[in-house]
């Protein structure tokens, strides 16, 4: 398996495929209602909706960088105001962002992986691994929030 294929395989597994570490991110969102997504079962933690918008924001940033664009992190809204965001639109935006990233990774050659991200020192491969780790990390949090919501029903 070429390095780019292995990366793409890991991205796909972690998002909606056969993840080994726990439930894949997209699969965790099945059965989550608008009410659940907007609730805050752990008072000091983000809601599932806030997490999903945050995740898709950064997947989109990484997709644009991998596609050759300079994206300054300071220009990115890390945590957005989601009061007017519907759950359905948030999930659709997440799916679009992930698809955009997968397309960008699929177009890379092995040599591209060592090249620096436009406007930064880290490699393109590090940028992709960062997105993967970010998705997995927040998937773990969504799993806990779902359990907490279940416990409060």
């Amino acid at each position: 398996m070429r390095p780019t294929e292995r990366l793409l395989d890991q991205l796909n597994r972690a998002f909606g495929g056969d993840a080994w570490h726990g439930p894949a991110l997209r699969n965790l969102l099945d059965g989550v209602t608008e009410e659940h997504a907007k609730s805050r079962p752990v008072r000091e933690a983000h809601s599932i909706l806030e997490l999903v918008v945050h995740i898709s924001t950064w997947i989109d940033v990484v997709a644009r960088r991998v596609g050759g664009n300079v994206v300054d992190s300071s220009s990115v809204q890390d945590w957005s105001d989601v009061t007017k965001t519907s759950w359905t639109s948030a999930v659709q935006a997440l799916e679009r962002a992930e698809s955009k990233l997968a397309d960008a990774v699929a177009r890379l050659s092995t040599e591209d992986l060592d090249k620096p991200v436009p406007g930064a020192k880290r490699s393109i491969e590090s940028e992709i691994l960062g997105a993967l780790q970010h998705n997995v990390y927040h998937a773990g949090q969504i799993a806990i929030l779902k359990k907490a919501i279940g416990g409060k029903q």
């Binding site: 398996m1 890991q10 570490h21 880290r122 960062g130 997995v136 990390y137 806990i144």
Partner: protein, 164 residues
């Protein structure tokens, strides 16, 4: 993934694990072992599960199939977890130092705790273990918030920024 990136991924995993352990340090014994209703109940049990998984997969990469369960009660506090983890980290570093690009596609067979035989490429196993630790670190940080304790950031890009 390349061998260099796998090594970076494990250096990151160790950095992030230690940050989470440091965030857990102020918890008293009751908070550390309190059942919060999650998959592994308490912060202690979640951390021990991660520690145990890193150990058992390190063994499997080397062709061994231990059957010992996690033994949560063996770890009464953060320090006991940290001490055990140091030996596992050393084993991971030794293994990764010898890793070659062609080894990533090598198939390795092992038996799980139920003595069922499985076989995967080493590259997949290596990525899996790092993902597994990250997944549960996210949970521990949320559990810290459930307890009203201070959390910490373990973002991969933050790690890379600290290196430069």
């Amino acid at each position: 993934m390349t061998v260099d990136e796998i090594r970076t991924l494990y250096a990151y995993t160790q950095w992030a694990n230690h940050r989470v352990l440091s965030a857990c340090q102020p918890l008293d014994s009751s908070a550390f072992t309190r059942n919060l209703g999650n998959s592994f109940g308490s912060i202690r049990d979640t951390l021990v599960h991660v520690l145990w998984a890193e150990w058992i997969w390190l063994e499997r990469w080397q062709g061994r199939s231990p059957k010992q369960p996690a033994g949560f009660a063996d770890y009464p506090d953060v320090q006991s977890i940290e001490t055990r983890w140091q030996g596992i980290e050393q084993g991971q570093q030794d293994f990764l130092r010898r890793l070659t690009p062609d080894a990533l596609d090598r198939r390795i067979a092992y038996e799980n705790l139920k003595s069922e035989r499985w076989e995967y490429s080493l590259g997949h196993m290596l990525q899996h273990v790092a993902n597994h630790s990250t997944y549960h670190r996210g949970q521990v940080v949320t559990m810290l918030r459930q307890l009203g304790a201070g959390a910490t950031s373990t973002d991969f890009l933050l790690y890379l920024d600290e290196l430069t």
